[in-house]
Every structure is written in structure tokens, then in C-alpha cells.
Subunit: 120 residues, 2 copies
Amino acid sequence: MFGHLDPKKETHCPIRDVMALASDKWSILIVLYLGYYRTLRFNRLRRKVYDISNKVLSERLKTLERDGYVSRTMYAEVPIRVEYALTDFGHAYLEKLLDLTEWITQYSDTIMAHRKSFGK
Amino acid sequence: MFGHLDPKKETHCPIRDVMALASDKWSILIVLYLGYYRTLRFNRLRRKVYDISNKVLSERLKTLERDGYVSRTMYAEVPIRVEYALTDFGHAYLEKLLDLTEWITQYSDTIMAHRKSFGK
DNA sequence: TATAATGGTTACTTTTAGTAACTTGATTTA
DNA sequence: TAAATCAAGTTACTAAAAGTAACCATTATA
């Protein structure tokens, strides 16, 4: 249950090395939107994940693709068409994320209230 | 299920505003270690969450305390003693995190393998 | 008398994130 | 016919975050 906290550590930590690359704010939003819309092209995805820049979206997609969460399909049309979608693994991750995001959404107001009252 | 993705957006996104502050690499590790050891003093926690700096640990703890995940108890001893622990809410979050980290740990090797084979 | 431990803070450097302009090639609009 | 538009990004630059290392006061230990 807490196996990944093993003090024999220093070797390979799944949280630092693996999870951290897919659990940041932008990656989570990308996975959620790809989960909801099934497939999205670059610019449409960017408009869904509002406030993300081309640069960061491009970087995050590359990492998510490299680690097996996302597939990238290029169609040699004019103009070029590129579609992003979740892989099966990405869908499994989506399930886990949805569980977490639903929970946090449920308690979001509580946290915001705590945050406000804390400064005093 | 995908309620937080509502395109009416722009107002308040629980993922951007709330979850992002507790789901980064360091915050996750802090919550996991506090979950495992129940209470930890600053320096001991820092040694558990190896490679974290005083500065970042201090900052993350403040945010986690402000948002209600962590409690900070100061004992006016000499030298001063400060104990950090999860709140009830922090424990509930821990449950969710454990579910996610267990899953990612299970697939960690798969991801690493995919990562290696991807460059080719 | 020097060292280490307590829980941090401060100043500085490096890495990451964010901004805005630009690319290439073809098509639509005025 | 010339200008603007869209596709999917890239590039150069700036701002923000993370990481490094020294330091603070107090007290016990060697």
C-alpha cells in the first residue's frame, strides 16, 4: 500500500519519475478533454484547454504520447490534419483521474472557504 | 462526470484553482509520507521526502495547511517542536491518492518501456 | 570551544512556464 | 491579384517557479 515509499529508495520512484509527468495541471486537463471528445485536433484541443499556450500544449502532448497515454495520427491532407486521442492505457488513466477530479470538485468550495478563512 | 469541463467555463475550474495546488510531485509525496508516519517534524519529513529543499517543503506545507489538508502544531519547547499531520480531509485525499499511486506503480514499468522504445 | 540539532528564512541561480511573433503551403475572401 | 486564413506547430524572449547554499537564534553534546 505504501510500497513506493520504501526507504531503500533512491533507485526508482514511480511518483517522481512517472506519475509527475502526467499529473500536472495541463496534462490532467488534456486527458480529461480527450476523454470527453474522443479525438481532437491540435487547435481545437487548445481552445478547449483554454489558457494553454501552443508551446506547452505541444510539449505536454509529446510527453503524453511518449509515455503511452495519447496517440497522434497524422493525415496527409491539405492542410495537414493531426488527431489526438487517448490510448487504451490513457483511458484507464482517465478513469482514475475522473475519480480524483470528481472528489476534488465535490470539496472545492470547502477548500476555497478554508483558504479564505486561513489568512486571519 | 465531466461537469468540470463545462464550456461555460472561464469562471472557476476546480482542477486549475484547487487540485493543481495539491497534486504536484512534492505535495503528493508529502501527503503520502504524512499518511504513512501519521505525524512528522519538519526535518524528519524533509529527510523522508528526499531531494526536497527547505524552501520548497516550507512552501508546500503552507499551501497544504492553508487548503486544509495538513495541520501544523507548535510546541513551545526548547528547541521548538513543530509537528505536521494530515487533517481528516487530508486523510480522505490520501485515500484517493493511494488509489492513483498504486495504479501508476503497477504500470510504471510499462510506461518506462514505452518511453524507451518511443525514440526509435 | 566547536559542532550539531531545532524550524525555518533569505539571496541567488537555474529550470520551467508563459507570450507573442513566425513558419510552410494551400485555400478562401475582397 | 493581393491579402488574409487556416493547419500544426516552432522559435526567441520574458516571467515565474524551483532548486542551492548560506544563514538565523537557541540549546545540548563532545
